[in-house]
């Protein structure tokens, strides 16, 4: 697989080296799996709809980009953290818009590459702002007051912001840290004790396909519903998920790209997605005796406006 990708990449790289492939926008994806393709396709289609000829947009993987040599586009859109990291290290002349990656990833890349977010390197985040998550919590479970949060080494950085937001909304946070290689149970027990909701903040040390069974079973036993960050968690058993689809990311990235093509700069501060989706596990809702409707929640949340 790797070898074939490499050969294909070299071949494409040779092709790209020809002047005929000079493009206005280059889309560099971490990989070619479904979510990345969905984001990139939505981006290209929207750019085309806005009048940019399709041949002006070049799609490639990070590997192909490395092999491609000089391209001189007006904008590079990175899809995924791996592509972003590659571009953050290698590309300093062309503005780069990083997409389809969570804020924690973008900030880690900035730290590791010694760069700063700027109009040369900006981002459209995949994760949803904490304020929007708390707003969804208010709409879905108006009576909830105590919110449990499990922090891991990669999410703990968001703790000060969440504490401030919770305080402003009159919510009590019940927090627990899960250290690296530390068992989950004691922390999980603490955050489920008497809480109304478990707010899942993405952290691969805490939430993974290996740990999700324990977390969801324990929270269900405690009758504490979970507000998660991806629809896969809602399917698995979280009551709610707030998320943006790759297509929605592609669409917004296209709008941002169009601004750059009109001669404006990328926003210096990275942005969150304007659009989003709400997923509800209706079976879990029914079993917990809760009435929550995904569509009306999404509607109300949109009306509240983007933060």
């Amino acid at each position: 697989m790797h070898l074939r990708q490499l050969i294909f990449g070299i071949w494409l790289g040779l092709m790209a080296a020809t002047p005929a492939l000079a493009a206005t926008v280059v889309v560099v994806s971490s990989e070619r799996s479904a979510a990345y393709t969905e984001a990139a396709d939505a981006l290209v289609a929207e750019l085309e709809r806005n009048g940019l000829p399709r041949q002006e947009v070049l799609q490639m993987t990070g590997l192909q980009w490395t092999a491609a040599g000089q391209l001189n586009p007006k904008l590079i859109v990175a899809v995924g953290a791996q592509a972003t990291e590659l571009l953050a290290r290698a590309e300093r002349r062309t503005p780069v818009l990083a997409t389809l990656l969570p804020r924690a990833s973008f900030e880690r890349i900035l730290r590791e590459t010694g760069r700063k977010a700027s109009s040369q390197l900006s981002a459209l985040y995949l994760d949803q702002p904490l304020s929007r998550q708390l707003e969804l919590l208010r709409l879905a479970l108006p009576g909830a007051r105590r919110v449990g949060v499990l922090w891991g080494p990669e999410s703990i950085g968001q703790a000060p912001l969440l504490r401030a937001l919770a305080l402003a909304r009159g919510l009590n946070l019940v927090e627990a840290d899960v250290g690296p290689e530390e068992a989950l149970f004691p922390s999980l027990k603490r955050v489920l004790d008497g809480t109304d909701l478990l707010l899942a903040v993405a952290d691969s040390q805490v939430y993974s396909s290996a740990s999700i069974q324990n977390i969801l079973l324990a929270s269900f036993r405690a009758r504490v519903p979970m507000l998660a960050f991806s629809p896969a968690y809602a399917r698995a058993g979280a009551l709610l998920a707030l998320y943006v689809t790759p297509a929605q990311i592609g669409l917004q990235a296209a709008t941002m790209a169009a601004t750059v093509l009109r001669g404006n700069a990328l926003p210096e501060a990275p942005v969150y997605s304007k659009d989003f989706e709400v997923a509800v596990n209706e079976h879990v809702a029914r079993s917990l005796g809760l009435r929550v409707d995904a569509e009306s929640l999404r509607h109300s949340l949109r009306r509240e406006g983007s933060p």
């Binding site: 791996q82 389809l100 880690r108 149970f185 004691p186 040390q205 069974q213 698995a236 058993g237």
Partner: protein, 646 residues
């Protein structure tokens, strides 16, 4: 583990390598698919969609009640009668009628395993003692006949004890309790494990001097082990094993028919449950369990009164064992249709030379096929249609159907109407008892000899229910109006000698019961359970051993008030007012009414990483009341409990 980490640090490599290989959060965390965890069989029906009335007593309520026993907790459930006597193995509970010294018309399950004893006429007293209260997550009491889902023994209801998942009890806990009436309980529990497997081992003892007037010095010793294994996302395996020993003082000084002695009951079990998630909407559950029981009650009986200068042994000791294998498939065909179906095979062996006059084991095989269809013809309607076909190798086949319609009239208001039919085949003893007394190979007397003519009794239940939730008032209400028509009620008859069992009575039990939970203000909870029960059983003696007409009180009320106070204090007041009824171990003329008031005051403790509680409980503040028999009384008992856990 810590040692290894330290070693790695000393070596100067391990820590670094770990830091480098640790995955960092990326879009993968948002985009990767997850296994379905809360699959269909893990999502229980809502209380307002179950095909019957359910009372849930959760861990918090168990703690706040001050109870030392599952049987004592059943006082919180409308329609239940309880006794704290250890005369019939252990404390007794019955629903809509304490029809005798042993309760055999309700089913008791502990984590899905039936603990109904096939010994004697069938009973649940020993089974109710299976686990320590500290290990119980919740008790679900299904009020009303439930044979369509749980088989013949759920004739009038089911007590479903659910123990805590071992993932929730990682750490250690110790409990000691001491007080009046010789109360000296102690328990220790340890839980350990990893993300994929957790374990729990609990040992406990519950001991006291029993009821006033009894030869009580009762002791319950338990060991329970539970393992929860999650080898992968689709599979869950649970292993359980344990032993129970009950020693109870019985009899009366100077009574040659019933002298003072110790009676011993022992049981042991092993259980394996395997659940596999087949798909988001399909689960398969396979369960096997083996249970062993022994009963020892033996005393010398002097033959002086018949002119023989010798004695014989009066002995009702014996053993029983059971094996249970079941397979269940849960399938959510669509959002409007869900099916649970499966099969079960159960083999019971009862052995007692003195009780059955044979050394051979009396074997009964049960084969069961069951199904329940949950259909939502409209968004506000839930129809549960269930049926169990059961074949007993001793008593043939029977069919127990149930139909229940739940209508969500408005948000928070549900009406329920339906009916069911169930049979209970006679137990091994009712069918085959042969109690003989020999002296030097001379048959002296046959006291009980079942002719085997007795056949199954049946119940036709109809009910209407209402469930109301009033969020603005903090109030939940559950009302059940019922009529249970019992035909061919099995009981022993004294008119003949030896005693035999017959399908003697047809009668109905009807009435109304409700429970209300109300949180009037912060930190407070009222819980009111009330039952009005009327039995149409004829008020006649005819030599019946126990009295049917007032097997349940006409009126019974239990009120619990719980208030959280400043300074981490919890206050509980529990008051029970039980109308006139026939005592479990007495004749129909021994009818009593009683009241009992309990108080509990507890303070939460916290020292560094340890949490705990110290509680003072006073049970029955008032004067002693008769329990089980007129000569026994439940007297005041105050005790202190200290519990520490990490």
């Amino acid at each position: 583990m810590r040692g290894l980490t330290l070693l790695a640090l000393i070596m100067g490599t391990g820590g670094l390598a770990a830091a480098q290989t640790a995955p960092s959060v990326s879009e993968k965390d948002f985009l990767t698919d997850m296994p379905v965890v809360l699959s269909v069989s893990r999502l229980p029906q809502r209380l307002d969609e179950t095909p019957g009335a359910v009372t849930v007593i959760d861990r918090e309520m168990i703690r706040l009640s001050g109870a030392r026993d599952v049987a004592d907790l059943m006082r919180l459930v409308p329609g239940f009668q309880t006794s704290m006597a250890f005369e019939a193995v252990g404390p007794q509970v019955s629903y809509h009628g304490a029809f005798g010294g042993l309760s055999n018309r309700i089913q008791v399950l502990v984590d899905g395993r039936t603990v109904y004893s096939p010994y004697f006429i069938g009973s649940v007293e020993g089974g109710l003692q299976t686990v320590a209260l500290e290990d119980i997550e919740r008790i679900e009491v299904l009020r009303g006949s439930n044979s369509a889902a749980y088989g013949a023994r759920a004739f009038l209801g089911v007590i479903n004890i659910v123990t805590r998942d071992s993932a929730d009890t990682v750490g250690a806990q110790a409990t000691v309790r001491a007080g009046e009436n010789g109360i000296r309980d102690a328990g220790a529990r340890v839980g350990w494990g990893t993300e994929s497997s957790t374990f729990r081992l609990s040992l406990d003892r519950r001991a006291d001097d029993g009821l006033q007037g009894s030869n009580g010095h009762n002791q319950v010793d338990r060991v329970n082990f539970r393992a929860d294994l999650r080898p992968d996302a689709a599979d869950e395996i649970q292993l359980r094993a344990g032993t129970l020993g009950i020693t109870a003082g019985k009899g009366f000084t100077g009574n040659i028919d019933d002298p003072t002695r110790d009676v011993r009951y022992g049981s042991g079990y092993a259980q394996i449950d395997w659940r596999r998630v087949l798909a988001a909407d399909q689960d398969l559950a396979l369960a096997y369990s083996h249970t062993e029981e022994s009963y020892q009650d033996k005393f010398p009986y002097s033959l002086a009164q018949i002119g023989i200068n010798d004695s014989i042994d009066v002995d009702i000791s014996g053993r029983s064992s059971s094996d249970n294998l079941s397979l269940q498939h849960t399938w959510r065909q669509s959002p409007v249709l869900q099916l649970v179906w499966g099969g079960e095979f159960r083999r019971e062996r009862v052995t007692s030379k003195p009780v059955y006059n044979t050394d051979a084991a009396l074997v009964t095989d049960f084969t069961r096929l069951f199904g329940n269809l949950e259909w939502r013809p409209a968004s506000d309607l839930v129809l549960n249609a269930g049926v169990m076909a059961e074949h007993s190798s001793v008593d043939g086949s029977s069919l127990s159907p149930r139909l229940m319609l739940n209508w969500h009239v408005a948000e928070g208001h549900t009406l329920r109407v339906g009916g069911s039919r169930a049979d209970r085949p006679p137990s091994t003893y009712e069918k085959s008892a042969d109690v003989r007394f020999y002296w030097n190979d001379h048959l002296l007397e046959i006291t009980t000899q079942s002719s085997g003519r007795v056949t199954r009794e049946d119940v036709l239940s109809t009910e209407m229910g209402y469930l109301g939730v009033f969020p603005s008032l903090g109030l939940n209400l559950d009302v059940r109006v019922f009529k249970e028509r019992i035909n061919g009620f099995i009981r022993q008859w004294n008119a003949t000698q030896p005693k035999d069992y017959f399908n003697q009575d047809d009668f109905s039990v009807q009435g109304l019961e409700y429970e209300m939970k109300w949180q009037p203000w912060s930190g407070a909870q009222f819980r009111l359970a009330q039952a009005y029960i009327h039995s149409s059983a004829a008020d006649q003696d005819n030599g019946a051993v126990s009295g049917l007409p007032l097997a349940a009180p006409r009126q019974a009320t239990t009120i619990a008030f719980v208030q959280r106070l400043p300074g981490a204090l919890d206050f509980t007041l529990l008051h029970q007012d039980n109308g006139t009824m026939t005592l479990q171990g007495a004749g129909r003329l021994d009818q009593v009414a009683f009241t009992r008031t309990d108080l509990r005051l507890a303070k939460a403790l916290r020292f560094d990483r340890l949490r705990g509680e110290i509680a003072l409980v006073v049970q029955n503040l008032g004067s002693p009341y008769p329990d089980y028999a007129p000569s026994f009384a439940f007297q005041r008992r105050a005790f202190v409990t200290l519990q520490i856990e990490n």
